[in-house]
Subunit: 349 residues, 2 copies
């Protein structure tokens, strides 16, 4: 079984998962290995090559674990955490550990092998969002688990090990340190000023305008003031809400459009960069919180992150977010556009 271990100094939990070592190293170096479509376990018709599905949005009359699905959720075959067992929390001198109980699921976003975000329709993306929400609502019922993290790695340089478009869900029995840090920082602001810092941020960005990429009835996409990475972009709901899974139907409708649009802009502007997105949302074991505000962070992987940067949290970003936002605002993503305007990547080494 995987083991969760806590760093006694900073309180960061790490998953020691030696069984992960067996997973296929499909991607080598920077390039994305071309898997023959006939071998991809995520393609339609290969449902027997994954563990049995947990959830699928399917055409009427089709059967579980057969073709006919639009989106399919399966357990990760090489899970970082496993759903069976007791946590068995224990100490060893200054150290704390527990059994790596949790969920690690794969959300296969399309039956087609390789499809970029620009090729998806708004309603495809909306369905992916509904799947995210359905899985969180379901896993929340398990009292051993306290937090769900949804993320997507696109491209080898962003850590993707299979190229078929998919996102992942890791549900943990502890709150990851970054969520904890955000919650703590936001609570401090709330205690001092009585307002949500993310709500303040949305307001300040909309009035300043220069870091805004997109503004819709329900969402704002901005390149944040203290961007760690070139073209880092956050999507924030305008109405306060701490839990992603509480998103209302009009919110999903709008977010499908916004997420597709922002990712298409990044794909067009940066020539299909590797990227990650992560949904930051409040832990399960809280009701709606007045100080925390869920959001999506999108990080194109254009710069090499030196070890000292993720070792120290001290980032050097060569592209001011104002420049990145100005560029992204202007990018035309209509599929028909033959002249793709691209940010000159040589300026971002």
């Amino acid at each position: 079984m995987p083991e969760l271990r806590k760093d006694p100094i900073v309180g960061r939990w790490v998953i020691i998962a030696s069984e992960r070592a067996k997973r296929p190293n499909e991607l080598k170096g920077e390039g994305q290995a071309q898997v023959e479509p006939g071998l991809c376990p995520f393609c339609e018709g290969h449902e027997d090559k994954t563990p049995p599905e947990i959830l699928a949005y399917r055409e009427r009359g089709t059967r579980a674990n057969g073709p006919g699905w639009r989106i399919r959720v399966v357990p990760n075959r090489f899970p970082a955490l496993k759903i069976e067992g007791n946590l068995n929390k224990r100490g060893d001198g200054i150290y704390d550990k527990m059994v790596g109980v949790g969920a690690h699921e794969v959300i296969i976003e399309s039956p087609k092998h390789r499809i970029s975000t620009a090729e998806l329709t708004d309603s495809n993306v909306q369905e992916v969002l509904w799947v995210y929400r359905d899985r969180l609502v379901d896993l929340k019922k398990d009292s051993r688990l306290v937090h769900g993290m949804i993320f997507k790695n696109v491209g080898a340089a962003a850590g993707a090990s299979l190229e078929h478009t998919h996102s992942q869900l890791i549900v943990t029995p502890i709150v990851p340190i970054s969520v904890w840090d955000e919650m703590t920082g936001a609570l401090e602001f709330y205690n001092y000023r009585g307002r949500c810092i993310f709500c303040d941020m949305v307001q300040q960005e909309l009035s300043f305008e220069k870091r805004v990429v997109l503004d819709t009835p329900h969402f704002t996409a901005v390149c944040p003031f203290a961007s760690r990475f070139p073209f880092e972009t956050w999507i924030l709901p305008k109405a306060h809400s701490s839990h992603f899974e509480n998103i209302p139907k009009p919110g999903v409708d709008d977010l499908g459009h916004v997420l597709r649009d922002v990712l298409s802009k990044l794909e067009h502007a940066l020539d299909d960069p590797p990227y990650n997105y992560i949904i930051h949302t409040a832990p399960f074991d809280h009701q709606e919180l007045p100080h925390y505000h869920w959001h999506i962070e999108i990080i194109p992987r254009l710069t090499k992150v030196a070890g000292f940067e993720w070792g120290t949290g001290f980032y050097i970003n060569p592209v001011p977010p104002e420049d990145a936002a100005a560029f992204l605002r202007e990018v035309d993503c209509r599929p028909a556009s033959p002249q793709r305007e691209r940010f000159e990547r040589t300026t971002m080494v």
Copy 2:
């Protein structure tokens, strides 16, 4: 001028340095581009290709900015921070920023173009440590600056942009968030138990033995309990001390040997992996602290770090530190050894 900006939620400072975009992208992809020795600005005889030296350990009778040096410190030509100017700290609504004042220096560790750690002598490494210490002691006098971070990137995948062996020093007017988090965590432990958590860690590791890589009179090298990365190794002084620059002479003598030995073990075991090391030390503006303990963290870059891992602080490590330490203990690093024992890298995808 570069700008320092603070993330209002978690308090992380970021350097927005658009001038860095101009630096040469010597390294492409994963491979290390072969720079013709005749063009390397760090090689002996090319002293005119760098800004004038700040410090050099030289042979008697040789002149500044000419050949005859063993180690040479120069300003980074593409600095993340600049030494001139006032901090001009200011706010803008919820945001805080200041001018990017600081120092960014390059420590050229050898006049030879490409030399691996295994090829260095203990006394080479000791001199590099003396240079680190001399630069910190000097920069500490500048009241605008509060923290010095020394790090080394080896290999393109670890973020090195020039292959000639060198380390770097970034001195900042703020305390980087990781140092702040470590200091806070360690202080909490100290307030509760009246002991330094790092001292406790050294003691527990030495008695447990299984994560110890090397044990000498002054230092212990261990693969930490909650290792984020395969073969992550920390070197900790056995005697309590919060500031690296206060290291006594016998400490430098021993550390030169330990650092060379640990890096050689990693080079031998993992077939010259890209890696980073970072010296974690207390901020300048404190006297000796009872709760903080300087140390060196060495991180081989064997696994691809997915964005969600450094975005969330949630690491998945496929190699238990007990296995890594057992392997490193056994590695024979004598230069004469023709049969290099290697950890099977295919197990670490």
